[in-house]
C-alpha cells in the first residue's frame, strides 16, 4: 500500500480562488471556515502573500505577464496529464516499429505526437520486461517528464520517496502494492533537469482484442513512474 509514503503527504485544506482578472484584484471565494462573522477578507497564508508580492513586483517591473501565468496554470491543471503518456505506452504496445523507435530516441518520437516543450527536452523510455522492472525518482528535487505525465504527485516530491526509492526500491514498491518475482531485477532511474524517464509497463495478459482507448485505461500514471503495474482488464 502507498499508505506509508502517502501518510507523510499532508492533506491541506482547500480554499477558493480565481486566477481571474490580474495581479491587483482577488475575489474571495466561498470557503469552509466556520468564522463567518469575520469582518475582513480571509487573509492568505504568509507564503501565499509572499508569492503575491513577488508577482506584483515583477508585473510592476514589466518582467512578467499575468495572462501568461494563468495560461501556464490552465495548461497543467486541465490540458496536460498522464493520458499523454498512456497514449505513448499503448502505441508502444501495439506498434513494434513505434516501440523500437521510442526506445531508440524517445524525445524525437514523442515530439512527433505533439508531446514536447517544458521539461520534455530529453526524454528516455525504459521498458519493463520479465527480467527487469524500472522505477523513476528524482533524488535532487522533482524532475519529471511534464509533457507526458503533467505535474508530479505529492508523494513523488516527498523526502520519503526520494530517499528510499534508491535505497530500498522493493520495499517502496511493496508499499505501493507491487510485489515482483524474486528473480526480477529492479532498476531505479534518477531523473535530472537534463534527463527524464518514462516507464513502459508490461502489457497485461488477455488484452489482445482491446482498442486503444480501452488499453489506455489500463495505463495509470503510477505505472509510468514504475510504482504500479498496468491494470488488468
Amino acid at each position: 500500500m502507498r499508505v506509508k509514503i502517502l501518510a507523510a503527504f499532508k492533506r491541506l485544506a482547500h480554499f477558493g480562488w480565481t486566477s481571474g482578472p490580474g495581479w491587483c484584484t482577488l475575489f474571495p471565494m466561498p470557503h469552509d471556515h466556520s468564522d463567518h462573522d469575520d469582518p475582513h477578507a480571509l487573509l492568505p497564508s504568509d507564503p501565499a502573500l509572499r508569492v503575491k508580492a513577488l508577482e506584483t513586483l515583477l508585473v510592476q517591473k514589466g518582467l512578467i505577464d499575468p495572462a501568461a501565468l494563468d495560461e501556464i496554470i490552465d495548461t497543467y491543471e486541465n490540458k496536460i496529464g498522464p493520458r499523454n503518456g498512456a497514449r505513448v505506452v499503448v502505441k508502444a504496445w501495439t506498434d513494434p516499429g513505434f516501440r523500437a523507435a521510442l526506445l531508440e530516441d524517445a524525445t524525437a518520437v514523442v515530439a512527433d505526437l505533439g508531446y514536447y516543450g517544458r521539461q520534455g527536452e530529453h526524454m528516455v523510455a525504459v521498458e519493463n520486461t520479465d527480467e527487469l522492472h524500472n522505477m523513476v525518482v528524482c533524488t535532487l528535487c522533482s524532475c519529471y517528464p511534464w509533457p507526458l505525465l503533467g505535474i508530479p504527485p505529492g508523494w513523488y516530491k516527498s523526502d520519503a520517496y526520494r530517499a528510499r526509492a534508491v535505497r530500498e526500491p522493493r520495499k517502496v514498491l511493496a508499499e505501493f502494492g507491487v510485489t515482483l518475482p524474486e528473480h526480477r531485477a529492479v532498476r531505479v532511474w534518477d531523473s535530472t533537469a537534463e534527463m527524464r524517464y518514462l516507464v513502459i509497463p508490461q502489457r497485461p495478459e488477455g488484452t489482445e482484442g482491446m482498442d486503444e482507448e480501452a488499453l489506455m485505461g489500463l495505463v495509470s500514471r503510477d505505472s509510468m513512474i514504475g510504482t504500479a503495474l498496468a491494470g488488468t482488464p
Partner: protein
Amino acid sequence: MKPDPVFEAPWHAQLFALTVHLNEAGHFEWGQWAGRFGATLKRHGLAKELNGGEDYFAAWLDTLEVYLDEIGIAAPGEVALLRDAWKAAYLGTPHGQPVRLAKS
C-alpha cells in the same frame, strides 16, 4: 474516485507558473534553478522529513526569493513591502469584497 488536484493550494500553482514563466523569459536556466532548489530541499530536509506538499513549495519559494535577489530582479526589501501592502489590503477589505492593492 476523484483524482488528486494538480496543485493543492492556489499559491503553489502561482509560484510554479511564476518560476516557469521567468525561466522561459530567459531570466535563468532550468538546470541552475533545479540545482538551487535541490540544495534548499536538502537543507530543509535536515530538520524534518519533507512531505512533498506544503513544505515542498515552501522550499521552492525560499529558493526563488533568494535566486531573484541574486540575479537582481527582486530585492527582499521590495518584496517585503508588497507583502505587507497585500496583508493590509486583505485586513482592510470587508468580507466578500474584491481585495485591491492600494495605489502607492
